[in-house]
Symmetry: C2
Subunit: 328 residues, 2 copies
């Protein structure tokens, strides 16, 4: 159906090899053959079959992206940045959403492996050992998680937490709750670690609330527990959870930030739009995606990529403030 290199060769009256050269390295053919080939290609609407090319060159010009849940607004932002950067280098993107199911990550990677030059794994949920089995086999860059020996891009959660805690401390808070995300999530552990260190530094009490799904419902589910705790401020695993908290608090008539302050993490689009607008720790989502592509290309070019850490920044909005309802 679609034109192949053979058709072009026939129409241009040259051999396949010449067509290939004329299109790939125009300076290696005579101007007139080049012109005839170009015209033939244009006339036939010829586009090379990248899969066939990949077979022989060993380079597919595709990047595989695997992530746990596209419904979490954090990921589309990252993917978009990946896309943009990938296109800049003429790479296309294979996308796979695992639906937070660690069990399908590895088979998925296996199945796609031959169709891509390498993978960007966003917040993979699989065990370290399983993933490590790919080391040396398939070029992999990990985003939002650190797994040796893969190069990775992670956010500086510790600094973000420090900023958040500094802010809350300045507002007079001394007891802060943390609503933890999925236990399998490295980000969750990383954030918690950063938070512990920050509360330690400021000599504040940290109250940990159960692991919840990283969704609005997850946040809503734990809101009552948080409200019943002595915490006067709460930091959520991510913005979705924070929004769930806000929602439930409003439903319960619990004033934010009057009775309790709420801090999110990620700075998704919604964060600034709800009311009270959510104070949150912004992650450089675009930078993570872009840098991920850069590292992967480094890896593919046999340059040795180094782990990168992207900055975080506390965005103070309206969901945090000094206590006004002094109920305890």
């Amino acid at each position: 159906m679609a034109a192949t290199i053979k058709d072009v060769a026939r129409l241009a009256g040259v051999s396949q090899s010449s067509v290939c050269r004329a299109l790939a390295r125009p300076d290696q053919v005579r101007p007139d053959t080049r012109e005839r080939v170009e015209r033939a290609a244009r006339d036939l609407g010829y586009y090379p079959n990248r899969a066939a090319r990949g077979l022989i060159t060993g380079r597919t010009a595709n990047i595989g992206v695997v992530l746990p849940d596209l419904a979490n607004p954090f990921f589309p932002s990252v993917v978009k940045a990946i896309q943009t950067q990938a296109r800049r280098f003429d790479y296309a993107v294979f996308l796979s959403d695992t639906d937070e199911d660690p069990a399908i990550e590895v088979p998925l990677i296996r199945a796609l492996a031959k169709q891509v030059d390498g993978f960007l794994l966003c917040s993979p949920r699989s065990g370290e050992e399983e993933l490590r089995a790919f080391a040396g086999q398939i070029p992999i860059v990990v985003l939002n998680r650190r797994i040796t020996p893969f190069p990775s891009v992670t956010a500086d959660s510790a600094d973000g937490m420090r900023q958040a805690i500094g802010h809350l401390h300045a507002l007079g808070h001394r007891r802060v709750a943390y609503v933890a995300g999925p236990r399998a999530s490295w980000s969750n552990r990383d954030r918690l670690r950063g938070l512990r260190s920050a509360t330690g530094a400021y000599d504040m009490e940290l109250i940990e609330a159960g692991n919840v799904a990283p969704t609005v419902d997850g946040g809503a589910a734990v809101a009552d527990t948080v409200a019943a705790s002595p915490a006067t401020a709460v930091i959520a695993y991510n913005d979705l959870v924070a929004l769930g908290l806000l929602n439930r608090f409003r439903a319960r008539g619990i004033a934010v930030p009057g009775r309790i302050s709420v801090v999110g993490f990620d700075d998704i689009l919604l964060a600034g739009l709800v009311s009270p607008a959510l104070t949150t720790v912004a992650i450089a989502k675009e930078q993570i995606g872009r840098t991920g592509v850069e590292l992967l290309l480094d890896l593919l070019a046999d340059r040795d990529p180094v782990n990168r850490r992207t900055p975080t920044q506390l965005i103070v909005r309206d969901s945090t403030g000094p206590l006004t309802d002094q109920i305890r």
Copy 2:
């Protein structure tokens, strides 16, 4: 590096053809060869190269998805549904975000064409003629737009608009504004068409406000114009625009729904989380994605797919109500 069918053949002591058969049609080989092949494949960690297979079978088991902007929360929902349904039939997904740039759509489709069995074009922005050129060449299903001769899945905007207008009418509104989305957007024209028919049926006045980008900023930009109009209710092209309106209205101290009611379209996750929670016309996003995949598979199997129209449903929340600030 990675194991090929040849390696498996050597290890199992059979020919390539037998390996292929043993794995693809196990009932056509003797049980013992099948077993040896399976073991060899397992031991070597053999996974077939889908690209190579596609070359000969003409079937890549990939679907290409092209959409204008992943940052619009509407699309991730659709993509997620596409993913899920595609995986069910063992298809993988190629994703491309065009950044609302119609100029790159067609080249993108061309470049990817050989790597996928067909495309799902979500809200394509290109001209009809350009896209029609693919008819008969590349299997294409269009989502959120109707372009003959491609099968398409669209939302029943007219019915959604009827519901919205019915709701506003019942609340006492008689003058309603529409904030239009991108001029190039078929959805926008479709929604406007539905709206006109609905306002006509209810004998209401329709005030059309300029075309804006389908984003929060787009909505914010036109809010003052809307407020200055005689409209007592406004329907936005989509939820993002509606949220922009809400935001700006709040900043201006314009009561919603007291002074003006706001209705969105799409029912993205945010809609229910802002306050006032947004009344909006919900679109069956998952169904659109799922159905799109079904139609594409029909097309690929030479079954004749028919256009589908998915239902819409007005979700009444808090951004609509009877007028209370009777300023005019």
